[in-house]
């Protein structure tokens, strides 16, 4: 294990001057290859696309949280000059409930289709009902207002607790709770029950000397990417479609859009734009099928861009939820049992990340007797989308709050209590996996040694710590490494770059090829230029797509060795690869040939040189553990919280580009701080979203935060050639607990509800 304190630049230059880990390029901090375009305004994001003859789309959205659509009348809109096409749910194929992909996070195309455009019923404020395309955005927006929709308004149900009641209004009359034996015959809002168990926690709990138990609640929050969803679609007379869109997966857009529009995959080409933030929220589709259908009906390319209000009302968010947690411990701090019950709001269609909450909540701890029960509940809110470590932050918030309370009860330092019980190599998690070498304990140890943790606190100040876990995944990735005529290199993948992954791809290719990183150009290709890749998500790209790049670079090396063997007239096995050159073994009189030398004569040795790799990485994605420390000061007069210090410590495997790894830790921490202190969806009692903009859905701004220190704990992952471990999601798991514990310790009372607004904190202080 090595440690990198993220406050300095660790002495690594920007040009591959070598690192402490023995690599030449991996672990250095070059300027990202797509950087100049992004600091000069040249980079094209979703809304920056412009096509010949392009017209503009606008969506009609439900003003009601729950209603039957009786009639849609387009007459007035169609009379408006400049209107070229209108569509409603009737223009799309009707899918069946059986149209789905199974899995831990199952994907229902039946639900997705009805979420993208409502059929007979609207299920949340902002649900798309119809769309119109016109020659200007202003005409399209005007026409959208002229489309008359007749509703039969139904009673909405907004929280999991209300939706689970016997007589609650039903969102779907064909929803029968999964995971209950036998399956109920009566429809309800409870989509699924998930139970995970190890040992017998009820019996084990009886041996506890101390038990802490509590209820915690959180609200719906949004990913808050700054770029609203945007796309453009072209539909040619031969039925071929091109879609330009910003998303976390061009192949994802192709597959889902084809499914929802009843088209074959080969008819749709998706060209990825730069993506202006996703955090999981752009792992699904909203506008693309609408733009495609409008383009088909109008015969013109159609561009669609959401407003911020539309983003808030109809995309994302992640589930609000409640947790009941119970932990028992011996006097010496040894945990004996833990139980957790989670109720998550899925939004209008099933599929909250509650199962993932159940799997992750207790993962940092070595518990032989543990149980987690989860309820997935539909409510009249937008369908939850993935948000960075989906499901884990809320579960961790409850468990880490309880751990803090337990540390107080036992009089033990909260990090020492966590170390005493930390999951380590060989620990079996509640979801059945036995951990390999993990950095959980290393992070806790590193946290205790930080200057931050040993800084004294002043009056009205409090310190909180919390741990967090995320699985990380592998998946299907493809890469092609192309050697240009001058020996420079193009690395093409199908993985959209949402945070600097092009830099990581270039560094790994440089390391394998022995070519300077400045001579490598990584790019994100469209769906017809590289083979299929899964979307960017699950913290998988640097790990799995990185592995594909490494394999493809090795394939290219093989090709280049073959060329050298041909030139030297020796056997292939007489050629080795060293420092970016082919060398002839056992004959040092033959001058090595560099990549540029081999590239120059490629025509004479067989044509262009490239390497490729198409892989599916099914194991070896090392799980991520992190520990965060937060110091706050609470103003006892106003209840306002100021974050004084913040440190994120995480096992990141090998940091390929440490600056972007630190950036992941800092960004995740900031989102978690927002979740803990400011952010929440506020609904009227009729179910209308009241805070649809950044003014009153307040994400952290620069003046809200201190510098966020990072400690990169590097426990290389044995499942990757360079030891890469996914890093993007773990950092949002601990902050909710860390901030809540800090505030609770500052005021001397346990905060059990997020966000910890000044009003809530004052109420707690005043409660005596």
């Amino acid at each position: 294990m090595t440690l990198q304190n993220g406050n300095g630049h660790n002495g690594n230059g920007h040009n591959g001057s070598g690192t402490s880990n023995g690599y030449k390029y991996v672990g250095t901090r070059p300027v990202r290859p797509d950087g100049v375009d992004k600091v000069t305004g040249r980079a094209n994001f979703g809304a920056d696309i412009s096509l010949n003859g392009m017209i503009y789309g606008s969506v009609v959205r439900s003003p009601h949280a729950h209603a039957k659509i009786k009639k849609i009348n387009f007459d007035k809109a169609l009379k408006l000059k400049g209107v070229k096409a209108v569509i409603s749910g009737k223009d799309f194929p009707t899918l069946k409930p059986s149209d789905k992909l199974p899995g831990v996070a199952p994907l229902s195309f039946y639900d997705m289709s009805r979420n993208v455009i409502a059929r007979d019923k609207v299920l949340y404020d902002g649900h798309a009902i119809a769309a119109v395309a016109a020659t200007t955005q202003a005409i399209a927006d005007k026409a959208a207002k002229l489309i008359d929709v007749e509703y039969k308004i139904l009673k909405p149900v907004m929280t999991a607790a209300d939706a689970m009641k016997e007589k609650a209004p039903l969102l779907h009359d064909d929803l029968f709770t999964e995971g209950v034996d036998p399956t109920p015959k009566k429809a309800s809002n409870i989509a699924k029950r998930t139970e995970l168990k190890l040992g017998d926690p009820e019996v084990a709990m009886q041996s506890a000397d101390f038990i802490v138990e509590g209820d915690y609640s959180t609200e719906t929050v949004h990913q808050g990417y700054i770029e609203p969803h945007a796309c453009a679609a072209n539909f040619a007379q031969d039925g071929s479609v091109s879609i330009w869109a910003s998303s976390q997966g061009a192949f994802m857009i192709r597959a889902y859009t084809a499914r929802l529009c009843g088209m074959s995959t080969s008819k749709i080409k998706v060209i990825p734009a730069e993506i202006g933030g996703g955090f999981g929220g752009k792992t699904t589709i909203y506008l693309e099928p609408l733009a495609l259908m409008l383009a088909k009906k109008s015969g013109r390319p159609v561009k669609m861009t959401m407003s911020r209000t539309e983003v808030m009302r109809a995309t994302g968010p992640t589930s609000g939820g409640t947790a009941h947690v119970k932990i028992g411990a011996k006097k010496d701090g040894t945990l004996v049992a833990g139980t957790l019950e989670l109720k998550y709001e899925a939004g209008a269609f099933p599929g909250s990340p509650v199962a993932l909450g159940c799997m992750t909540g207790f993962a940092p701890y070595d518990l032989k007797d543990v149980a987690c029960l989860g309820w997935d509940v539909v409510v009249n809110r937008p369908k939850a989308a993935a948000y960075r470590a989906p499901g884990a932050p809320v579960a961790a918030y409850a468990v880490e709050s309880a751990m803090d309370e337990l540390a107080h009860k036992l009089g033990i330092d909260p990090l020492t209590l966590r170390r005493k019980n930390s999951a380590k190599e060989g620990t079996k998690a509640v979801y059945g996996v036995e951990f390999d070498r993990i950095g959980n304990e290393d992070c806790l140890q590193a946290a205790q040694k930080t200057k931050h943790y040993n800084t004294p606190l002043g009056e009205n100040q409090g310190r909180g710590v919390a741990s967090g876990f995320w699985f990380n995944i592998g998946g299907t990735s493809s890469a092609e490494v192309m050697i240009n005529e001058d020996g420079t290199v193009i690395v093409a993948t199908g993985s959209p770059d949402i945070g600097g992954s092009r830099a990581s791809m270039a560094l790994m290719a440089a390391e394998v090829l022995g070519v300077d990183v400045s001579r490598i150009k990584p790019l994100v290709a469209d769906t017809e230029s590289v083979p299929y890749s899964d979307l960017t998500g699950g913290s998988r790209v640097t790990f799995a797509t990185g592995k594909a790049v490494i394999d493809a670079a090795e394939d290219a090396i093989k090709d280049m060795k073959r060329r050298a063997a041909k030139v030297w007239k020796v056997d292939f096995d007489q050629v080795d690869w060293e420092n970016g050159s082919a060398i002839c073994i056992e004959n040092d009189e033959i001058k090595p040939m560099s990549v540029a030398d081999i590239a120059q004569i490629a025509g004479k040795t067989g044509g262009a040189i490239s390497g490729k790799a198409n892989i599916n990485v099914t194991k070896g994605a090392g799980p991520g553990f992190g520990t965060h420390i937060c110091d706050v000061e609470v103003d006892p007069e106003t209840g306002r919280v100021t974050v004084l210090r913040y440190t994120a410590i995480q096992d990141v495997g090998t940091a390929i580009h440490p600056s972007y790894v630190e950036g992941q830790l800092q960004g995740g921490a900031a989102q978690g701080i927002g979740w803990a202190l400011n952010e929440e969806y506020v609904y009227s009692k009729e179910g209308n979203l009241l805070n649809t903009g950044f003014l009153d859905y307040r994400v952290p701004v620069a003046s809200d935060l201190p510098m966020i220190d990072t400690v990169l704990v590097e426990v290389p992952n044995a499942g990757h050639p360079f030891g890469v471990r996914g890093v993007g999601e773990t950092p949002i798991v601990p902050p909710l607990g860390a901030v809540a514990n800090a505030v609770s310790n500052a005021i001397g009372k346990r905060m059990t509800s997020l966000p910890m607004s000044p009003a809530k904190i004052l109420q707690k202080i005043d409660a005596g």
Binding site: H14, R29, V31, R32, D34, G35, V36, K38, V39, T40, G41, R42, A43, N44, F45, A47, D48, S50, A138, Q223, G224, Y225, I226, E227, P228, E274, I275, G276, G277, G278, F279, T305, S307, R308, I498, G499, G500, H657, S659, Y660, E662, G663, Q666, G667, G668, A669, A670, Q671, G693, F694, L695, V699, P700, V701, A702, S703, D704, L705, M707, I708
Partner: protein
């Protein structure tokens, strides 16, 4: 709706444009002039992605009408580092890895450059408050603040 003829200076060049009376400066820049480096994140002045300067003053282009730009000098991201060299703020953004997705970056660079023109030696707190109108969801601001402070240091010489 009829369009109005508006004359303004954009990044030093004279520009004539026809815009609707209800069209924002942001839409004029993006849709009428093809200057898409200025981004729209909210259209309500809350995110700062559309930051430009008008006669040297930092504004959200989404909160100003195109017709109000008549006779004004507008500077956008496309006008910064127009020569072969990047502006120090741009260079330090790259060197400090102060961007992840990059959608907020043009706005931050316009705002930070404007700060340093007014205050060449800002404290960390002054940078944080000046940039409080620019939202970034990726970085937690840490590296952005460091980049601006380093650019300030370099520009002071």
């Amino acid at each position: 709706m009829s369009k109005q003829h508006v004359t303004m200076t954009v990044n030093g060049d004279p520009v004539e444009v026809l815009c609707r009376a209800d069209q924002t400066l942001l839409d004029c820049l993006r849709d009428e002039m093809g200057l898409t480096g200025t981004k729209e994140g909210c259209s309500t002045g809350d995110c700062g992605a559309c930051s430009v300067t008008v006669d040297g003053r930092l504004v959200c282009a989404c909160l100003m009408l195109g017709v109000e730009a008549e006779g004004r000098k507008i500077e956008t991201i496309e006008g910064i580092g127009e020569s072969e060299e990047l502006h120090p703020v741009q260079r330090h953004f790259l060197e400090e890895a102060a961007l992840q997705c990059g959608i907020c970056t043009p706005g931050f660079i316009v705002a930070a450059k404007n700060l340093l023109e007014k205050n060449p030696n800002p404290t960390e707190e002054e940078v944080r408050y000046w940039l409080a109108g620019n939202l970034c969801r990726c970085t937690g601001y840490d590296k952005i603040i460091k980049a601006v402070l380093k650019a300030a240091e370099e520009m002071r010489g």
